[in-house]
Amino acid sequence: MGHGHHEIEVKQEQFVFSPKAKRFSIILMVLGLILTGIGIATMDNHSENHNPTTVSSDSHETHGESTVVNNEGHAEEANASHEEEHGNVPNEKFGPRVAFHHQDKPASTRIWANMLIVGYFFLMISLTAVMWYAIQYVANAGWSSSIKRVPEAIMTFIPVAFVILMIALFMGKNEIYHWVHYEHLGLKPGDAGYDAILAGKSAFLNSNMLFIFPTLLVVIWYVMMRKLRSLSVAEDNATKGDSSFFKKSIRFSAGFAVLFGFTISVVAWLIIMSVDAHWYSTIFGFYNFVTHWVTMITIMAFIVAYLKKEGYLGIVTNEHIHDLGKYMFAFTIFWAYLWLSQYLLIWYAQIPEEMAYYQIRFEDYKPNFLANFFMCFCIPFLGLLMRSAKRNRYVLAIIGSIMIIGHYHDVWLMVTPGVFGTGMTFGFMEIGMLLLVGGIFMWWVFTALTKRGLIAVNHPFLEESVHHDVGV
């Protein structure tokens, strides 16, 4: 500090969840419920042909070997020609599920799969908010200290998203994960339909692991998140200049960043990648991480822009908005980098068991596949390239909305072809679930924002954030 500087006094602000915002949140939820209802009502109702309760173990006991790996309940449909048509003939190398149609699954699968997607999406968003928060501490970042209450609010959504995810896993695990279904068959080497790949992975891919592992990790992450949050509010109430909370936050942040960085991949493999259990990609976890990371930053930029518009966050300037825009832009490129890295190697090597993942997505979901790339890369890249675009809240709002839908659709595209095979569409139910949980998310996060002051008044780097300037 030079001679000219003098200690600045930053006033604490108290956020009020305005009735207008409450109304908007409720509209989102109601609209989401209506769209989900329309989605459920107009769903292909084929459950009379495919009884979901007989999907798992009953079929193979009552119908013998010919239907051992078939998901269909009725023997008269499960004749040999039908199996060939759907490619369900057991195959030693690639496993039994090469191609099938979504009507092979009970109708309720779609509800559980959508809950899984939306629960996972928001769980990862709230977890990446903790990661972002931790990185700011570990990197000694000063510019972000004026907006740190926003990720602090987003991260409180972890338990809600986790409950949604767990309900989906509990209710739909038999239909979503073919390895859970396979586990119930209890096949031994030499049996018809025995799958060496699934058997080899059963130490990791089994239904106990599916519940224990994510629960354990989320509890650990949640406890660390609570600790970071309590340190932050304790700093507010401490005397000015007391940096002990700050130092403690750095230590907890470093621990969280290392733990989360390693374990998030495993959760992505277990919950999302395993819908195609024969397929694997080592980059998948990071790809999942960055998809949600860039979405979380977009949501954060939205909340900061909203707070600015409502007259809060007096110390936040266009410079901070610009930096959030840069973050969105940079990680859009990083997303495309990982997207291409995963695709390019598989495309080049052309090994059948790796190709299977892209085969179905490129052949049967081509519009979705291309739309994914456009919404997550082309539009944000070109839209946010200019400096003036990153500093303009309206441009950020439009591009950011496309990005959020794009990345949600990205997760949808990871799960859906693996669960349903061909013929599924991104319809009312998918959009409805996003709006419904989005509305709950907004309510929850805005309520969390009211629980403490909007400014971390005793943060040692707050003054740096006040003077933050990226130059002309």
Binding site: G2, H3, G4, L344, Y348, R387, H467, V472
Partner: protein
């Protein structure tokens, strides 16, 4: 194109008043006082970035970003043409029965080529503009501007009250003041 403008060279300038500062906070205060008094500051040379100075002296935005964009376009075109010529036009090869036209395998080449051209182009133009390219004589007003001193250069115009400007500089914390004319500096 501004980057090639001969007027940028200090030799083609009128007489200059030069002030040397030691403390950046005093400099910021003095610079804003000078600007408020209606003095046009030609430039301020600092060994490290001083926040806010660019806005005070009304510096225009750097053209480096635009140069980067054009270099990127050139690099992208160059690499696309190159790989098209190599693998489609001149010597198409069958690699794993992959198509030769516009395949994902082109992406890394295009990407890396774009980045390479952008990085080289930006460095080159940046050094050229700062007169650090071989063959261009660099004009350092004061060698200490690369170390720990902050140098303010004010170009004089006819009818300017030089005395009062020098006074303002002295009161604003300048530790040294000089005149620069025809390549010769005289201490005041």
């Amino acid at each position: 194109m501004g980057i090639l403008d001969k007027k940028l060279s200090l030799r083609h300038r009128n007489k200059m008043l030069i002030g040397v500062w030691e403390d950046e906070d005093q400099l910021v205060a003095a610079a804003s006082e000078l600007v408020h008094a209606g003095v046009h500051i030609h430039d301020i040379y600092t060994p490290y970035p001083v926040h806010g100075l660019d806005r005070i002296i009304g510096a225009r935005r750097s053209k480096l970003a635009r140069i980067a964009f054009f270099c990127a376009i050139i690099g992208f075109t160059l690499m696309t043409t190159m790989i098209w010529y190599m693998s489609v036009h001149d010597w198409p090869m069958n690699i794993g029965n992959k198509p030769v036209r516009f395949t994902p395998s082109w992406a890394p080449v295009m990407f890396e080529g774009t980045v390479l051209c952008t990085a080289f182009g930006m460095s080159f133009f940046f050094f050229w503009r700062n007169r650090l390219v071989h063959g261009i004589k660099n004009e350092t007003l004061d060698i200490r501007q690369t170390d720990d001193r902050l140098i303010v250069a004010i170009e004089t115009v006819p009818g300017m009250d030089e005395k009062s400007i020098l006074n303002m500089m002295k009161n604003g914390g300048a530790i040294e003041m000089r005149e620069f004319e025809n390549g010769v500096q005289t201490v005041i």
